[in-house]
């Protein structure tokens, strides 16, 4: 991946105005990042790019390597190998320019317990080298944006966790950096605060490039334009939330509950056009059963037209009772659970379709079941 150099940042005049970059310019670039601690490989060969204005969600279980990746991208610690580029500046070799373009919220919200909110933010504005004439305005704007107006004069040590987290967010956005790296911005907040922070982050996207990490799935689905799932230090899936869901959706089973003798019903369903395999999920009494119906993919690998109308017709015509016929939507949860359950890494982080067809986005086990037969199909 080649880096397009942006207009270089002049240290003297901050806040920095960078010429509007073309849409495709990557603002965050991770190239084959690997970090080794002793004999533990925290992350391995992690590569991705985040374009200008994008909001990338970094999803993974605890200990997957999210924070390590973010620490590398923020320049806090170097990668054992690979390269991290922020706004066109290498975070190690051109560290100052990169750090100027960056707002970083670490995993543990930075708290300067002995300062008031305003004083803390003024200090951060100073060390971010904002021009002294603009500091007060920048601090006010950050306070307003993060909803800290009512507590601005209070000691941070006396604030609730939610407010402290917002103070952390305020210091990250202070000076309007182009790139924001937020490590679990909603951790430890109550549901109302989570909603507020999410809205805040979402409002920022477009103007700023945001990379946020989380292990809360709806968060990504609600806020992000792009998702990367990481597990055991490797990227296991990537794409837009919708594309990840739809890839898995193609082969997601239809749930059919039929009032009939199960064996007969199964036989009938298997004969419907477009239906591949039918599995008995569970019997509900003697004459009622739930099936999982899998569609036959056509030559291109895509599923054919929805077979549900044909199934309904067949069931009714055979004189059986149709109780339920549905295809539950796949959630990111399914993608996530599936991706992290798979020991062999699939996606290469480029998010293209070929990678997506690999093991990482094959049929997911839906919430309530897991079938050994299905697993064997994956391999």
């Amino acid at each position: 991946m080649n880096v397009k150099p942006l207009v270089s940042v002049n240290p003297a005049d901050a806040p920095v105005e960078i010429a509007p970059a073309p849409e495709s310019t990557p603002m965050i670039e991770a190239v084959a990042l690997t970090k080794v601690f002793g004999d533990l490989t925290a992350i391995e060969d992690v590569s991705f790019t985040v374009g200008k204005g994008e909001l990338l969600g970094f999803l993974g279980p605890n200990g997957a390597g999210k924070s390590t990746t973010m620490r590398i991208l923020s320049g806090f610690t170097p990668a054992s190998s690979g390269r991290a580029v922020i706004a066109g500046h290498d975070i190690q070799s051109d560290s100052f320019a990169a750090r100027r373009a960056l707002g970083y919220l670490p995993e543990s919200a930075p708290v300067d317990l002995a300062s008031t909110v305003t004083r803390f933010l003024s200090f951060i504005a100073e060390i971010k080298r904002l021009a002294s004439s603009e500091r007060a305005t920048a601090v006010d704007r950050a306070i307003e944006e993060c909803g800290l107006g009512e507590v601005r004069g209070r000691l941070i040590g006396n604030l609730s966790k939610g407010f402290r987290q917002r103070v952390g967010l305020a210091q990250a956005i202070l000076g309007d950096p182009e790139v924001l790296i937020l490590d679990e911005p909603t951790v430890g907040l109550d549901p109302r605060q989570i909603t507020e922070i999410r809205r805040l982050i979402k409002d920022m996207a477009g103007r700023r490039t945001v990379l946020l990490s989380t292990h809360i799935l709806p968060e990504v689905q609600l806020t992000c334009t792009k998702v990367i799932v990481i597990n055991r230090g490797r990227i296991v899936a990537s794409g837009t939330p919708d594309s990840l869901v739809s890839r898995i959706d193609d082969r997601h089973p239809i749930i059919a509950t039929v009032e009939a003798e199960p064996a007969r019903a199964q036989q009938l369903l298997e004969c419907v056009e477009g239906v591949g395999r039918v599995e008995l999920d569970r019997r509900l009494g003697v004459r009622r059963a739930t099936f999982h119906v899998f569609c036959v993919p056509d030559a291109s690998g895509r599923a054919p037209a929805d077979p549900r109308p044909a199934m309904a017709r067949a069931i009714v015509e055979a004189g059986m009772g149709l109780v339920e016929l549905s295809q539950p939507g796949v959630t990111l949860e399914d993608v996530f659970m599936h991706a992290i359950a798979d020991p062999s890494p699939g996606g290469d982080g480029s998010g293209d379709d070929e990678a997506a067809q690999e093991a990482n986005v094959t049929v997911a086990s839906s919430e309530e079941d897991s079938r050994p037969a299905e697993e064997s199909q994956d391999s």
Binding site: G75, F76, T77, L102, Y104, S108, P110, L113, S115, I127
Partner: protein, 264 residues
């Protein structure tokens, strides 16, 4: 660079003067020093009176010198007390940033490690200046009271002793900063500093098998070099000892901050 140092310096100085521990430490220091000062001054007055009276217990040529009997005593005491004050003042400096998560924010802001170290160190030295300035109350008191009796402390000795106090504070402080940079916990930082400083100060007290080694340990000892300043003897050797020691500790501190960037 300068702006970064200045920002860190202001913030750190504010922390010093809004923290209760600073005042507790200063209060204890002057409580102890005041008591001892009273004691030595009282003895001095007694001895002077006896010397003037003559008789079997004292003669005029045995009259005590105010510089030796009071000034040296009190400054020697303060220099020893500094050893116990410094760990309390320095333990917070960097360890608290690390444990509070501020460290990551600081070092991902466009500010270099040396600015952080220097800003914090200069704030600490400023506190040292305040302490030394407050200590000058003792020689000033002697001067005010003793002016009429012709028993005033020598200005040169007082100034040299003050400089000595400030230098040893600065050297001990740099050591404390180094310990604070190397640890996450403030308690560990304080203990490491205290033990380290005790060894550094007392290394000349151990009896060495031969004179050459004894000479080396004397020169390495921090307390040994203060002795000259307190007795009014300023030498380039003692000055450079403190400067080199302080700089070495600051240098190591900056390296410690930088260590997270090393590829391992």
């Amino acid at each position: 660079m300068i702006q970064g140092v200045w920002s860190i310096y202001k913030r750190e100085l504010r922390f010093f003067f809004q923290s209760a521990s600073t005042y507790v430490v200063l209060g204890l220091l002057f409580l102890i020093c005041g008591t001892i000062f009273h004691q030595v001054t009282f003895e001095f007055v007694n001895d002077s009176a006896m010397a003037q009276a003559g008789g079997p217990f004292g003669t005029a040529d045995k009259a005590p010198n105010i510089n030796v009997a009071v000034i040296e005593q009190i400054f020697r005491l303060i220099s020893a007390m500094i050893l116990f004050i410094v760990p309390i003042l320095t333990m917070r400096l960097i360890a608290s940033e690390r444990s509070g998560g501020m460290f990551e924010v600081l070092v991902t802001c466009p500010i270099d490690d040396w600015s952080i170290i220097l800003g914090k160190y200069l704030a600490l030295v400023t506190v040292g200046c305040v302490i030394v300035a407050l200590c000058s109350i003792y020689p000033i008191g002697l001067w005010v009271v003793g002016r009429d009796q012709g028993a005033v402390p020598d200005l040169g000795i007082v100034l040299s002793a003050c400089a000595g106090l400030l230098l040893i504070f600065a050297a001990y402080g740099a050591f404390g900063l180094m310990a604070s940079a190397a640890t996450q916990s403030q308690v560990t930082a304080a203990i490491v500093t205290l033990v380290g400083l005790m060894m550094w100060a007392a290394i000349s007290e151990f009896h060495m098998p031969n004179a050459a080694i004894q000479r080396v340990t004397d020169e390495l000892s921090a307390a040994h070099h203060t002795e000259n300043f307190i007795t009014g003897f300023v030498s380039l050797r003692d000055l450079s000892f403190y400067f080199i020691a302080s700089f070495a500790c600051l240098f190591v501190s900056a390296r410690v901050l930088e260590a997270r960037r090393w590829k391992v």
